[in-house]
């Protein structure tokens, strides 16, 4: 029997969450509501007592960076370990031992200080989620400074998906897809126009005001952006 569900099948997971702050507590609630088995670990005695009023036996008191605390929580059989304490060192080490000592297949770590993301990567802790980064992405999406939003970075696969709004005087405006000068390794995969989206063909004409989605090799943004911004018209 697989330890991890196939896509689309519902299976009960055993999830250990380190840190009963707002993020950890609410994650535990959501996962319990979805009928998963959850153990939340909190090292602050007073916080533990508050959370225990609601979650009862699903929360344990202890320092989740200590091996015996993780073992008491049953880490050997955990399907997923989530480290969301307010301390980046703790989150890194909890995930490191979960992955390398207890061979847990899925881990998720919270990054409190985005500058520490490099250290999570160095230790092979992925995915590492930074709330600051997520909010910045949302801000960029609402207020695109350069008219470019990076929607998704598939780091393992070395691909990115970006979204661009076509400016009035952009070189691409009024041209067919096949006429737009794109570097190798970049492809227009979708056009959003008048509230709908479609996959363009070689003879589709791109209009000013369209939002286009491209898939590309990392590092090509700068070569692509001038085709869709008015800055590129002067060049």
């Amino acid at each position: 029997m697989p330890r991890w569900p196939e896509h689309g099948t519902e299976r009960r997971m055993y999830v250990i969450i380190a840190g009963a702050g707002k993020v950890g507590w609410n994650l535990a609630r959501e996962l319990l509501a979805k009928d998963h088995e959850v153990t939340l670990i909190e090292e602050d005695r007073r916080r533990y007592l508050v959370v225990e009023q609601e979650l009862e036996h699903a929360v344990q008191y202890g320092d989740a960076t200590e091996l015996w605390v993780l073992e008491r929580a049953g880490i050997q059989r955990a399907d997923l370990v989530i480290a969301v304490t307010g301390d980046d060192e703790d989150n890194m080490l909890i995930c490191q031992v979960a992955k390398e000592k207890y061979l847990c297949r899925r881990i998720v770590a919270r990054v409190n200080n985005p500058r520490n993301l490099q250290h999570f990567k160095l230790l092979g802790i992925q995915p590492a989620v930074s709330a600051t980064d997520l909010i910045l992405r949302l801000i960029e999406h609402e207020v695109p400074q350069y008219g470019l939003v990076q929607l998704l970075a598939l780091e393992e696969e070395r691909l990115e998906i970006i979204e661009l709004e076509v400016a009035d005087e952009a070189p691409a405006a009024g041209r067919r897809v096949e006429e737009i000068e794109l570097p190798d390794g970049a492809l227009i995969i979708s056009v959003l126009r008048d509230g709908g989206g479609f996959v363009p063909k070689a003879d589709t004409v791109i209009e000013a005001g369209d939002e286009v989605l491209l898939i590309l090799d990392p590092g090509l943004e700068e070569a692509i952006t001038p085709q869709f911004t008015s800055a590129g018209a002067a060049a």
């Binding site: 960076t65 200590e66 091996l67 060192e89 890194m92 000592k101 500058r115 520490n116 160095l122 230790l123």
Partner: protein, 142 residues
């Protein structure tokens, strides 16, 4: 050798002074500017006059590590008060900056043992204390 010590507590500062006296180049990084006093203590001059380096900064700041000279270090010692900080910064020194010798103080015996198996040179004061106390207390009475 060039020795970089992160954490100038009792252990870190004592090792720093010994290393300097032995003729090594020594740089100390600590987040607390007051920890400098720990280094000056018992010296005739200040730590800098004696030839030592001191940088204020936290262990996980790459800029502070660079400023303290991690790229030139032959030996890296992680001796802050926190096990978790020590274990993370030691791995940064080993994996990212390829420091040839990394020594890390870990108070928790279980993790000291496991990280030693993973290739980190861990020193566990707690385990030493346990061994010594056991030896002293459990020896048969004469």
């Amino acid at each position: 050798m060039f020795i970089l010590i992160v954490g100038a507590g009792r252990v870190g500062s004592a090792v720093a002074k010994q290393a300097l006296a032995d003729g090594h180049e020594v740089s100390v990084l600590d987040q607390d500017p007051l920890s400098h006093e720990q280094l000056d203590k018992d010296l005739v001059d200040t730590w800098e006059d004696a030839g030592g380096r001191f940088t204020v900064g936290t262990a996980l700041e790459v800029d502070a590590l660079r400023e303290a000279g991690i790229e030139q270090a032959d030996v890296f010692i992680a001796s802050t008060r926190g096990d978790n900080t020590n274990l993370v910064v030691a791995q940064i020194a080993q994996r990212r900056f390829r420091v040839p010798r990394v020594v890390v103080r870990v108070a928790d015996p279980a993790r000291a043992a496991w990280y030693r198996q993973q290739g980190l040179q861990t020193i566990c004061p707690t385990q030493h204390a346990i061994d010594l106390v056991k030896e002293a207390a459990l020896a048969p009475l004469a």
